[in-house]
Amino acid sequence: MLQIHNLHVNVAGNDILNGIDLNVRPGEVHAIMGPNGSGKSTLAQVLAGRDGYEITAGSVHYLDQDLLPLTPEERARAGIFLAFQYPLEIPGVANVQLLRTALNSLRRARGEAEMDAIDFLEFVKDKLMLLGMDDSFLFRSVNEGFSGGEKKRNEILQMAVLEPQLAILDETDSGLDIDALHVVAQGVNSLRNAAHAIILVTHYQRLLNYIVPDQVHVLAGGRIVRSGGRELALELEQKGYAWLEDKASQADNAADLMEARL
């Protein structure tokens, strides 16, 4: 479904990603972990199509098409969804307006009929229930005055409405108390099936107790330095990230040494 090959990304003159390789197949859940500044969020933003990231090498293919030339809205219509680490507040735009406009944009792109306001309210009710949100959330401005936990839940509500094929959750667990984490995880798990894939970007393994990944990747210095199963996350929890950074810089030193010799 998603093939990232040797991806290099530069932001404002700094190399942030230095050769990412990642394959995600339908039905899989991948966790991307790593210390702050390792490039996790950059990877998520690049996949969603944000401006300001220069792809200096490598490729990204999604459903057998080149993803990189697509605009953010084209990516969304192709089934990619990014749950933001810091969801934006948009005063004056009602949540329901955003949800319905977005859903209808996707439906139009798929050649389906748009959903009218009444049908949409019916449709969105179940999703609200799933996330323990009441109707009043629909009529408030997008994320305005929401608590941290409500914002994250609202991201998952959008995801539940848009039913993406590839969902990327950027530190959705950060700032959540245990109850909210549980609710969010439940929302994500409800979308899990053989056709959908999920990339979880997270600092802590806590979320992975609730959303069990098929694969765990550790990002450090803009590279995936280790990949493994669920047990890798537990190991990280015990040892922290420090040993990985040593490993990454050792690798750099080794490379430098090699170059020097040549």
Binding site: A48, G49, R50, D51, T71, P72, E73, R75, A76, R77, F81, L82, F84, P87, L88, I90, P91, G92, V93, Q97, L98, R100, T101, A102, N104, S105, L106, A109, E114, S141, Q158, L162
Partner: protein
């Protein structure tokens, strides 16, 4: 320049009673003495009316204009075409709603004596209106009465190069309550000049909600004045919308003349293409315990240019006044410009006054957020613009006119494509 002949001809066509002929002539003479405002006058520093001098401006010829299809107006309606009343749909008696010509008859009646002609002041364009207005409109709401439906005054232009002088007089007696909508528009393919004047008197405890919509041709010039006088404990709430016009200027002079008067002034102005729009507000707190709230939102696109110029003056001994001004502006193109000039002049000791002005561009992060949900860039920009002006549109809900107005407002927004309701 336009020769005085054009104005004199226009005056000669007006069939006014003798009692007013001299006053009209005097007003015209006063105008001819000073002429059109010039850019060296501070209030006219940003826009020029020089183009009016080059136009073959003339008074409308009777019966030439063709009445365009009338939109649905949810209330009582007087519809004017080139300064002639051509349609009315109202069950209000003439003593409440009529042409100004009929209402004042041969001599100024007692209820208008204090304010008619004087509230608007003596600026040159106001003098010109005083000389050349025809028919006009008069709304008089009797003491304690509340009009159940809004009153719409539709001033349309249909003939090329006409100069139009809509004149409105509103008298809200003690405790009266009404909603008034002034709607200015015209054939989008023609040049013309609307120079309207409205005088509005609120007696003690009266309440008026006033929507004023400039939706003129993008080739047109609009120079309008509203002058409002508020007596004790009266309340004036206004929403001023400037959606189009080559040059569109609105001046609002408000006097909180007696204790406890309250004003809420909201506005949205849009300057797209190469258009110029100006909002000049003069709010005089003349008595104790007055309150004014101003909230204007400006949008400029293309090479459009907007000016928001508001001055609040709290006069000596007018203690306990509260005045707040907010001017929020959004630039949608690197060539657009908005000048915001909020000003406070305070001569009393015990007052609460504040003002703030911001000029910014659309939030790129918010745009990306919307686009990442599948909403195309154009539509996302539009949603954000709508959200931006929404803060100034509270009166639409209070008056029940949101559904009537929003389609016009959205059509007036820059770079509109298809939109969901």
């Amino acid at each position: 320049m336009i020769t005085p002949t054009a104005y004199r001809d226009a005056l000669s066509q007006i069939d006014a009673p003798n009692s007013f002929a001299a006053a009209r002539q005097a007003a015209l003479n006063a105008f001819l003495k000073t002429g059109l405002p010039e850019s060296r006058q501070e209030d006219w520093r940003y826009i020029s009316l020089d183009h009016l001098e080059r136009m073959p401006l003339h008074a409308p010829e009777d019966g030439l204009g063709i009445l365009p299809a009338l939109e649905d107006y949810p209330g009582a309606l007087l519809a004017y075409l080139d300064d002639r009343l051509v349609w009315q749909d109202t069950s209000l008696p003439p003593r409440v709603l009529d042409t100004l010509e009929n209402a004042i008859g041969d001599g100024i009646p007692a209820w208008a004596a204090e304010s008619f002609g004087s509230l608007a002041g003596t600026a040159s364009l106001t003098q010109l209106n005083a000389a050349l207005w025809r028919e006009g409109a008069c709304l008089r709401v009797p003491a304690g009465e509340r009009l159940r439906q809004p009153v719409f005054l539709r001033f349309a232009a249909a003939e090329a190069d006409v100069m139009l002088y809509p004149r409105v007089f509103v008298h809200m007696a003690v405790g009266a309550d009404a909603i008034l909508v002034e709607h200015f528009l015209g054939d989008p393919s023609i040049e013309y000049w609307q120079n309207p004047v409205a005088e509005i008197v609120l007696e003690a405890g009266a309440r008026l909600t006033h929507l004023r919509i400039i939706e003129d041709s993008n080739l047109a010039t609009h120079t309008g004045l509203s002058a409002v006088h508020l007596a004790r404990d009266s309340s004036y709430r206004a929403l001023n919308l400037t959606l189009s016009g080559q040059v569109a200027r609105h001046e609002l002079n408000l006097a909180l003349a007696e204790a406890g008067a309250e004003a809420r002034l909201d506005g949205v102005f849009i300057a797209a293409g190469r258009s110029r729009t100006e909002q000049h507000l003069r709010i005089a707190h003349q008595a104790p315990h007055g309150k004014s709230r101003t909230h204007y939102c400006g949008l400029a696109d293309g090479r459009g240019r907007g000016v928001f110029d508001a001055r609040v003056e709290v006069q000596a001994h007018a203690d306990g006044n509260d005045a707040q001004q907010t001017s929020r502006n959004l630039l949608l193109s690197p060539h657009a410009e908005i000048d915001a000039k909020p000003q406070l002049e305070i001569y009393a000791d015990d007052v609460k006054c504040s003002h703030s002005a911001t000029v910014g561009s659309l939030d790129e992060n918010a745009l990306f957020y919307l686009r990442s949900r599948g909403i195309d860039g154009e539509h996302a920009r539009h949603l954000l613009m709508q959200a931006f002006i929404d803060e100034a549109l509270g009166l639409l809900d209070d008056t029940g006119l949101r559904d009537w107005l929003m389609p016009r407002l959205l059509a007036g927004m820059p770079r509109v494509q298809s939109l969901e309701p």
